[in-house]
């Protein structure tokens, strides 16, 4: 929002390019995500071009350009999960939640993202929902778990 007052967040950082990543993290912490018009504000503060801000922010999976839901669903795409069929888990989630990766449901209940290895390789494929891990998943299990919740 153009009206969001980022002043206090920004002023904690020096006005130089090196501040860019910590600055983005801090803005995301305070707003939950990075709204498009905030990128310009961050660019001016860190004295970098607007495009650089988006380039950097879209390179790291930790940054989001959409608001997150109350349940943050993270699909692991680490090697073990990938081999175990993470792709199908993700596709199933996209179908069930009716959103694509990186998006949030309209009621703001769920957002969907992918992450690298979450450290439960023995239980692959797995996902985490607000840091709680569900393991040894199949598309069927995923459907059940979320169908219920969605109703």
């Amino acid at each position: 929002m153009a009206t969001t007052n980022l002043g206090p967040v920004l002023s904690a950082f020096e006005r130089r390019p090196e501040s860019l990543i910590p600055l983005l993290q801090s803005v995301q912490e305070s707003l939950g995500y990075l709204p498009p018009d905030v990128l310009g504000t961050v660019a001016r503060h860190a004295r970098v071009p607007r495009s650089r801000v988006y380039g950097v922010a879209s390179f790291y999976s930790q940054f989001r350009f959409n608001p997150v839901g109350r349940h943050r669903v993270a699909v692991c795409r680490g090697t073990a999960c990938h081999v175990g069929g993470a792709r199908f888990i993700l596709e199933q989630l996209e179908r069930t939640l009716e959103i694509l990766e990186g998006q949030t449901t309209e009621d703001m209940e769920y957002s969907l993202e992918t992450v690298a290895c979450i450290g439960c390789c023995g239980l692959a494929p797995c996902i985490s929902v607000n840091d709680e891990v569900s393991a040894k998943l199949t598309p069927m299990k995923v459907r059940k778990q979320f169908k219920k919740a969605r109703k």
Partner: protein, 890 residues
Amino acid sequence: MSQKIEVSIDGSTVMVDASATVLEAALEHDLFIPHLCHHPDLEPAGVCRLCLVEVDGCLVTACNTPVTGGAEIRTDTEAVKETRLGAVELLLVNHHHGTVDCEEGDACELNRIARFVGVDETRLDRYRPPDRSLPVDTSNPFFAFDPSICVLCGICVRTCDEIVGVAAIDFVQRGFDTTIGSAPGQQWIDSDCVSCGECVARCPTGALSFTGFETPEREVTTTCTYCGCGCGIHLGVAGDRLVSARGQRENPSNEGRLCVKGRFGFTFVNSPDRLTTPLIRRNGTLEEATWDEALDLVAEKFSASRGDAFAAIASAKLTNEENYLIQKFSRAVMGTNNVDHCARLCHSPSVAGLVQSFGSGAMTSSSKDIGDARCIFAIGTNTTAAHPIIGLQVMRSIRAGGKLIVVNPREIELARYADLYIQNRAGSDVALLMGMMRVIVDEGLHDPEFIEARCENFEAFRDSLGQYDEATVEEKTGVPFAQIAEAARMYAQNSPAAILYAMGITQHTHGTDNVLATSNLALLTGNVGLPSGGLNPLRGQSNVQGACDMGALPNVYPGYQNVAIPEVKAKFEQAWGVELDDVPGLTHLEILRGVTAGPIRAIYLVGENPALSEADATHAREAMEKVDFLVVQDIFLTESAEYADVVLPAASFAEKDGTFTNTERRVQRVRKAIPPVGDSRDDAWITCAIARRMGEEGFDFESAEEVMEEIASLTPSYGGITHDRIEQVGLQWPCPEASHPGTRYLHAETFPRPGGRGRFFPLKYRPPDEEPDAEYPLVLTTERSLYHYHTATMTRRVPGLETLRSEELVEIHPRDAVALAIASGDRVRVTSRRGEVEAHALVTEVSPPGTICMTFHFHEAPTNVLTNAAYDPVAKIPETKVCAVRVERA
């Protein structure tokens, strides 16, 4: 001269530049190494991995590996071939989904490389093609981006960052999804892109491609018709039409680069609106006529208005040869010095001021050398908008660690790159500059040796600094003194420091004082007489420098030779075989005023549009309406032409031969690319035809080249200039004789003044003529848009430019907008003591509180109806930069 070292390439021993990379060394010896992400204008990136070679047995990328003495370089080993083939294949799969021989043909460097390394298309099937398909971005009117052809070499990203400085685009997303973009969900047009097309011109694959261009049958090298940067340009021709443009790399003024106007703005030439036949006013309307009828009428009327009843307004858009002929016509045929041109409205204070202080009113440095300055002090210039290619030099200097100080009432684009940005009150420059100089003198940062050896009148100047104490300076400028002191130190302590200025300095009732203040500053710190320092008035139009040099001014002959000096008069009387007048003529404003309150009965208006460009434009219109006989010679039926009694259709810059002199004093060729449109004629032909019809001699030239010979014979600073000598590269005046190499920077040893010294001037602060009051509480200042030129008769006939900027916008600060209940997009009425204008509002922090800003490009909202015609007593330039207005919702 750089050092050479010996290396072996594929077994043969060669000498190469010690600072070269392996790739550069090979290319220099005509040995092709495939390369995609390398571009000679850019720093090496090493991302495409195609330039693999073996150096002493190790595989390396040639583009970012420096040569070392004795190195053994092999470009053809099996290891090289195999690894490279894999890299090419991978790129091909991501490019056009893996087709070799795509429709781009040889325009696609990857295609050529694929053939060079011998890719077997069937082998590509083993790769999984990318499963995404992104739409082509056609949001920019001049070019398109197709992500499915893009191979992510990054040349566009680096061009925009390293050369243009805008960095509108970057790599976005990651992994397979990586593409070129600017912000989430945004198209190219929504980015900070300034549409220069530099990235498109360098794209090796055709992923970025020009949309409007056609393949030319031939190309003609000429000089851009727009701004004073004077870029070299190759115009592409098919049939009788211009179909493409590209920058001329060998031209020192632009080194191949162009801005949006230069690259895409040529299509006005093909416009159906061009005037193609003479027009004569009969019973109140302009009707088509033959050249014979028109010329007879003009000759008859002009013959009846000889002497001071006649005035000519020449043009900074005409060639030197044409300006020369117009002033010669006025003086020798019409017997009057009443000849002036639009420089009166832009840089007359530079000419008047710098002649007094330095002895010569031109940019001291070369454009290219500005990039090597350690400090750039940009005051009253929106360089990236009005002089884009010099703007690139500013970027170059910053990239190399130079300091940038920007002083401007508006927070212009350059402010974002500045080490120090000072937002001063419009019209307070003398106070600001003298305040800076006080700090410099007080802190002993001036250059006493330079002052002692090369200047005069220092003591009087120093004494005048006493008036500029902290409190006074802060009050006049509205700037904390600490900032002014910081600017003073930054400028004085980083040498060489170059001052750039433009209309923010000159268009004031104290414009000449402003100019003298800048020359004081340069003298005080010894920043004159060096290549990358100096004082640089950036001249606005393609040939405004030349029009002044050619004496299209009421007080001087070509080469600034004063009409009042008897020897000068005798010289021209002898050359032209007529008697001449030694009384200086009327200036631009005085000519138009002379219609109602003076002797003017006939005006010859060439390539100028006072109906929009003149301050207090309503008066200009009244004068044109009222004058007995108005001849307008132009390429379009301008707002001013509508008042004409006779309209003469002129040829455009692409339809004639001649020369332009750009802002860095470089005299360059203008060449005919296509025949004149319809029955139009070049301006030189027209002026000569009028003179001949009046029975006069001295106007029988066969070519522009012959006119230049006459110019050179009478103008010392052009003495050594001939069309032959500037066939390849232009020459910078002074160039007094045939063997002189031209002058890269002025005042190296002495100043061309009596005594040879630069002169300091004590200065008194004078406020603008009109200041805000209860009835007109806001200040109106004026600016230019990057996308338009002057009164936009040409640029508004280029559809893409019209898309990029199609209307006047009243820029207003949020604080004032809130107080007036105005939002962006609201229609507002701006009223001054002289008139009112309506346009849409743009609420922006670019304009400071209390100041609004408008351009003067749009006839629907003629800003100059509002501006104040009060003028500088010396240069007679009107105060277009400051007047008092009131704003309300319309």
